[in-house]
Point group: C2
Chain length 156, copies 2
DNA sequence: TTGTTTGCAAACCTTTTGCACGTTA
DNA sequence: TAACGTGCAAAAGGTTTGCAAACAA
C-alpha cells in the first residue's frame, strides 16, 4: 500500500548523526544551543514551531534563548537539514529533512489546526513527472491538504 | 498537453461578478475599500501580498488603508473567494479562487523569490485519488515546488 | 588567543484590533 | 437612523539583529 497517515518510526536513519557531521563539515563549531536543537529535532517525526522547540528544551532543563533556536534553524535550513513548512497559521514549522529523500506531507485541519503527516507514492510520482516537464530546476516540494480532520468532521 | 507554466487569461470567468454576488448574498454591504480590493483581484492571474494590493491601489489613486485590505481579504477567505498561499517568506499571498474549481499551483525560486504559477492535470488526479483514501474530508490543497528559476539557474 | 556561538533586549515586519468617523441600506 | 465599513494609530504576534559575555578550537 502506498498511502499512510502514520508517521514512520523515530530516528531510524539517524538524522542526528547526519546533521552533526554535515554541520562539522560545513565548518560550524559545536555550541550548546544548536546541539540541543539538533538533538530535539532528531527525536521528531513531524514539524514543530520555533517556540515549541524552545519550550520543550526549557522543559528539559536547558535554558536556550528563542533567538538561538531561530539561528540554529536558519543554519539547518541552509544546509537543507530541515524542511521548513508554512501551514498558514502565520508561524513557520520545521522538521528534520532525511538525506534519503524520504519525506511526508501534511494534512491541516481548518477547524482545530491539527497537523497530520501522510505519505503517498502516487503523489510523489506525479510530482516527479511534473518536475521533469518544467523549465525549473526543482529542489523540493511541499503539499498541504486542507480540510476537516476525523474529529472535527464527526463533531458536526 | 496537461502541464503549463502559463497563467490562464484574465477574468475569463468573471470572478469579480461572482465575488460581488457572493458577498451580497452573505449579507455584506458594499464599501469602497472592499470593492477596490475585489476589483483589483479580479484582474490578477496570480497571487499578491496584502501590501502589494494596498500599494497598487494607492498607485491607482485610491487611499485604502492596509487594515482594510486585510479585513477585505479575511472576509473573502471566509467565503472561499480567495486562496491564501504561504510561499514561505513570512508573508501571506492571496489570489482569486475560481468557482469552477480551476486553479493552479506555484513554483518559488529559492534564489530570487519569484513566484510562477503552473497547472498539471496529472498532479490534480494524484491528489484526488489520494484524498479519497484519507480519513479526512479534504476541502483544498496547495502544492509549492521550490527550486531555481530559469534565470537564476542560468546565472550560475 | 581568536573567531564563533549564545542570551538578552531591542528592532522589525506582518497582521490584528480599538475607536471615532463616514457610509450604506 | 442603526448597523456596517473604513482609516488611522496602537497593539500583538513572530522573526531578526546588535551587542557584550561565554565558549570552542
Amino acid at each position: 500500500m502506498a498511502t499512510t497517515a502514520h508517521a514512520h518510526a523515530h530516528g531510524t536513519d539517524d538524522w542526528g548523526a547526519h546533521a552533526r557531521l554535515t554541520l562539522e563539515q560545513a565548518g560550524y563549531r559545536s555550541g550548546a544551543a544548536r546541539h540541543a536543537v539538533v538533538e530535539l529535532l532528531a527525536r521528531q517525526d513531524c514539524c514543530l514551531t520555533a517556540r515549541e522547540i524552545a519550550d520543550r528544551l526549557h522543559d528539559e532543563g536547558s535554558s536556550i534563548g528563542l533567538a538561538s533556536v531561530y539561528r540554529a534553524l536558519e543554519v539547518l535550513d541552509e544546509l537543507r537539514l530541515v524542511q521548513r513548512l508554512d501551514a498558514g497559521e502565520g508561524t513557520a514549522r520545521f522538521e528534520p529533512a532525511h538525506p534519503s529523500g524520504e519525506h511526508h506531507h501534511h494534512l491541516v485541519c481548518d477547524n482545530c489546526g491539527v497537523v497530520t503527516p501522510f505519505e503517498d507514492d502516487g503523489l510523489e510520482r506525479a510530482i516527479q513527472r511534473l518536475a521533469r516537464k518544467l523549465d525549473y530546476e526543482v529542489h523540493g516540494h511541499d503539499v498541504v491538504l486542507r480540510g476537516a480532520c476525523p474529529d472535527c468532521h464527526a463533531a458536526r
